[in-house]
C-alpha cells in the first residue's frame, strides 16, 4: 500500500490541477492576474530529492507524458520538460535535505525553470505571441509567489512522510 501511495498522490494532484482547481479558480483570471498550479511537479521533485534522481526522472517523464496527452496540445513538451526539470533539481545532498528553506528554494527553482521552459517552447511553436513584459506581472510573478508559498507549506509534512516510510538517511 505504501508503495502505491506516492504515485497515487501524484496522480490525484494531476487530476485536481485540471478539474477541482479549475472550477474554483474560475472567475479571477481574466485581464488581472492568474497563476498556474505546479503541485504535481513539487511532489515529483521532492521524490527525486528523497528517493534519488532516477525516481524523480521516472515520475517526471511518466506524469509529463500523461500531462501532454490529457491537457496539452502538442505531445512531448511536458514529457521532456518535466523529465529534465526533475533530473536537474533532484539534488539529494544532505544540507538540502536537512534545511526546509533550501528545499523550498530548490522546488521554487524547479517551478521557475519549468515555467520559463514552457514559455520558450510555446513561443518557439507559435502558440503564444505575448511578450515577456506583458506576462510577467499577470502570470509569472503570481505563479512563482503562490507556488513558493505552497512549497514552503508542504515541504515539512512531505519530508516527514518520506522519513517515516523510507527511514531517515541524512546522517543525523
Amino acid at each position: 500500500m505504501s508503495r502505491l501511495l506516492l504515485p497515487l498522490t501524484i496522480f490525484i494532484l494531476f487530476i485536481i490541477e485540471g478539474t477541482v482547481f479549475q472550477i474554483f479558480s474560475g472567475s479571477s483570471h481574466q485581464d488581472t492576474w492568474y497563476f498556474i498550479p505546479y503541485f504535481m511537479l513539487m511532489l515529483v521533485i521532492l521524490t527525486g530529492i528523497f528517493r534519488g534522481r532516477s525516481h524523480g526522472l521516472f515520475y517526471g517523464i511518466f506524469f509529463g507524458l500523461l500531462y501532454d496527452i490529457v491537457y496539452g496540445s502538442v505531445l512531448g513538451i511536458y514529457t521532456f520538460g518535466m523529465g529534465l526539470t526533475a533530473y536537474i533539481f533532484s539534488i539529494s545532498a544532505a544540507p538540502i535535505k536537512r534545511s526546509l528553506r533550501m528545499l523550498t528554494v530548490v522546488i521554487l527553482g524547479a517551478v521557475i525553470a519549468l515555467e520559463y521552459y514552457l514559455y520558450g517552447m510555446m513561443s518557439l511553436l507559435g502558440m503564444t505571441g505575448e511578450s515577456h513584459g506583458g506576462l510577467f506581472l499577470t502570470r509569472f510573478l503570481p505563479t512563482f509567489i503562490i507556488n513558493g508559498i505552497v512549497a514552503a507549506l508542504i515541504v515539512s509534512p512531505v519530508r516527514y512522510w518520506f522519513y517515516t516510510v523510507d527511514g531517515r538517511d541524512d546522517g543525523r
Binding site: T19, V20, G26, G76, F80, M122, G126
Partner: protein, 292 residues
Amino acid sequence: MNPFFSNRRLIVLLVCLIFLVGLIGYSLSEQRTLSWPEQFVQDSVGVVQSAFSRPAYWVSNSLDAVGDIRDVYRENQVLKSQLEEHASVLVERNQLEERNAELEEALELESDLSDYTSHQAMVIQRSPDRWNERIGLNVGAQDGITEDMAVVTSAGLVGKIREVSQFTSTVQLLSDQDASNRISARTDGEDTAFGFMEGIDEESGHLRFTKIDMEIEVEEGDIVSTSGLGGIFPSGITIGEIVSVQSDEYGLSQTALVEPSADSHQLDYVTVLDREAPGGEDNSEEEEEEEE
C-alpha cells in the same frame, strides 16, 4: 552523490530529446486524429476526472446558491414584471414557428443551415497551463460526437470540438491561439459582413473577427454570429458584440474586436451541436430543451 551525467541517464535524456522532437513533429501535423493509446489514456483519465468534477460542481453551485439568496427578492420583482411580456412573446413565437413550418412545407425545404441536433455534456477538465485554451467534455465518439462540431452555452458559441476519443472529447475555445482555430462568422448589420473568428487580440483580450471586406461598414454594437458556411457549424449562433473596428496591417481588409457573449471562464455544462442529422424526432428534442 552520483555524477551529474552518468552514462545511462545521459542516454535516457538524449533519447527523451529525440522523442520530444519527433513527437512535436507528429502532433503538429494538421488534421491528425487521436491515436489509440491517446484515446485510451484520455478515456481512462476522463472517468476519474468526471468523478472529481461532479462533486466539485455541486459544492461550487451550492456556494453560488448561498450567495444568490441575498438577491432573490429583488430578482423576483424584476422577473415578475417580465413575466407578462414573456407570455405574449411566447404566443407570438409559436405562431411564427407554425407559419414558418407551413411556408417551409410549401416550398418543400428539407433542411437549412440552422437545423441541428444537440448533445448535453459536462465539462470535466480544463488545461491548467493557460497556454492553450482547451476544455474536456464527458462525451465522445460513442455519443455521436465528431470533430469540428460547435460547442455552445445558453449565451452563445464557446468553441469547437478539436479531439475526439471514444468517451471524451476536447474543445478548442474561441480564445485559443492556435493558427488552425478559425470559424466562419457574419454580422447582422444592414450590410452583412462575412469573416473569420481568429483567436484573441492579446492586448485587449477580445476575440478577433478578421478578413472583413473594406467596402462594408461594420459598426460597434453589431452582433456577430456563425455563418454556417464551411464545415458543420449551424448558422445563427451568437458569438458576441463588436466593440471596435480597425483596418488590418496591410489595409486590405478590416478587423473587428468582438466581446464574446458566452463567458468561457465559468463553464460547467455545455451543448454540442450536430448539424448533420436533421429529422422529425430531433426537432422534438430541441423543443424540449428550449422549454427547459
